[in-house]
């Protein structure tokens, strides 16, 4: 079927198989490969992107379901070249990653959280990241980074 999805503000149209998953559309059709396929069973959160501004696991959404909607991937966060989104900056400053595989999804989950709750508590952050698994960091620096990003963006 023909689908047209706004990916990071650009219209991406293609004729794809009906069963195409959004994560494959993003990686193979739009050519944006920061979004990872991890568990492929909606458990790990590595494929998290924003769909109409809210976090979703793109391995469990059909491209057809996103037809006519807006997708944001981690490549679409920074306001310009050589710039970073506050959450990206905080992840770097707080050393919130080691291998980096979960990071694109983790950043998008954090961006979605801060859009809904600009000044989350540590407990709220831990709860909001339940759908994103990290096998390196033990999560502490990730939580610190989200707290730092919230405070940089004017939260408490």
């Amino acid at each position: 079927m023909k689908v047209a999805i706004s990916v990071n503000g650009s219209q991406v149209g293609a004729d794809v198989e009906d069963r195409t998953l959004l994560v494959h559309f993003i990686r193979d059709v739009a050519g944006l490969t920061a979004t990872n396929t991890g568990c492929d069973t909606s458990s790990c959160g590595a494929c998290t992107v924003l769909l109409d501004g809210r976090s979703v696991k793109s391995c469990t959404v059909l491209a057809a379901q996103a037809d006519g909607h807006e997708v944001t991937t981690v490549e679409g966060l920074a306001p310009g070249p050589d710039q970073m989104h506050p959450v990206q900056r905080a992840f770097r400053a707080e050393h919130a990653l080691q291998c980096g595989f979960c990071t694109p999804g983790m950043v998008m989950a954090a961006v979605s959280l801060l859009a809904e709750n600009p000044s989350p508590t540590e407990e709220e952050i831990r709860s909001a990241l339940e759908g994103n698994l990290c096998r390196c960091t033990g999560y502490h620096n990730i939580v610190r980074a989200v707290l730092a990003a919230a405070s940089e963006r004017g939260g408490s």
């Binding site: 079927m1 198989e17 009906d18 069963r19 195409t20 998953l21 494959h24 492929d40 069973t41 909606s42 458990s43 959160g45 998290t48 769909l51 809210r54 976090s55 979703v56 696991k57 469990t60 959404v61 059909l62 057809a64 379901q65 989950a109 979605s112 959280l113 709860s127 909001a128 339940e130 759908g131 994103n132």
Partner: protein, 272 residues
């Protein structure tokens, strides 16, 4: 992992969804948020030839009050249900439990109707619907039906829904000032309940203690005849047939049911 090939169709209205499903035959599946169906399709445990996407039907995501009831459209997401001021006021058990389904990403996509129609005995909301005495309103080729939650679930992933019949709305009687509690025991936050308990007033419902969500009748009867909460909770496993799997044996689940019902009754009492 990708699903086996299927034909995708999109419905803009309930009538169109019912028409498309009838035309497609009895193996057609409705697709809402897809968070129960798509994982099963990726594992090829379900291989529908055709999906009718109802996700864009605007008339099915309402949350409103009418005649002492609260009406929740089948497409209301867990996130919408959890955040609804009306539900937090009138049916705090439902709002709270919806906020504990899966994780934020799942709650952004998963719907209350999908959770009920999928009828996974480990899912939270079917037991909540039982505890709250919900009525499920369906639309199908032969018209509209109103089905009590207690009559809806017939077996493992099975309901009384006929092929092509769409769950459209869930109606909840307002709970009034009765105590409530929702207890869910998981190893990780995002997991399905190993055992869960929903208490609303004098109704007690269990998650994952049999092939369907079920009322803990022995507990309810004990409470009705004046038993103390601890005494009633001791009967939580009576009449259940809990599954055995890698998360626990039947005996372990029966123990959890007694413990969680005890906690739930205590918490519900404190909220009266």
């Amino acid at each position: 992992m990708i699903p086996a090939p299927f034909t995708y169709r999109r419905a803009a209205t309930v009538d169109e969804a019912v028409t498309l499903a009838a035309r497609g035959g009895e193996d057609v599946k409705f697709l809402a948020g897809g968070h129960s169906l798509l994982p099963l399709m990726k594992l090829r445990l379900v291989v529908p030839p055709e999906l009718v996407d109802i996700g864009g039907i605007g008339e099915l995501s309402h949350i409103s009050e009418a005649d002492g009831h609260v009406r929740v459209g089948a497409l209301a997401t867990h996130d919408q249900v959890a955040g609804s001021a009306l539900l937090r006021r009138e049916l705090p058990l439902l709002a709270h439990a919806a906020g504990r389904v899966g994780d934020p990403q799942v709650r952004h996509r998963g719907t209350i109707g999908g959770s009920l129609a999928h009828a996974d005995p480990a899912a939270d909301l079917p037991a909540v619907a039982l505890a709250l005495g919900a009525t499920l309103v369906t639309r199908g080729p032969s018209g509209t039906r109103e089905i009590a939650a207690g009559d809806f679930f017939t077996g493992l992933f099975e309901t009384v829904l006929e092929p092509g019949e769409l769950l459209a709305e869930i109606r909840f009687p307002k709970a009034g000032p009765s105590g409530w509690s929702f207890q869910k025991f998981t190893k990780r936050g995002i997991d399905w309940a190993i055992v869960g308990v929903a208490v609303a007033g004098d109704r007690v419902a269990l998650v994952n203690m049999g092939p369907t969500p079920l009322r803990a009748r022995a507990v309810e009867d004990a409470l009705a005849s004046g038993a103390a909460p601890d005494e009633a909770a001791a009967r939580a496993a009576e009449g259940t047939s809990a599954p055995e799997d890698l998360n626990g044996s039947r005996a372990y689940r029966e123990h959890l049911a007694r413990v969680l019902v005890g906690r739930a009754l205590g918490e519900a009492r404190s909220r009266r």
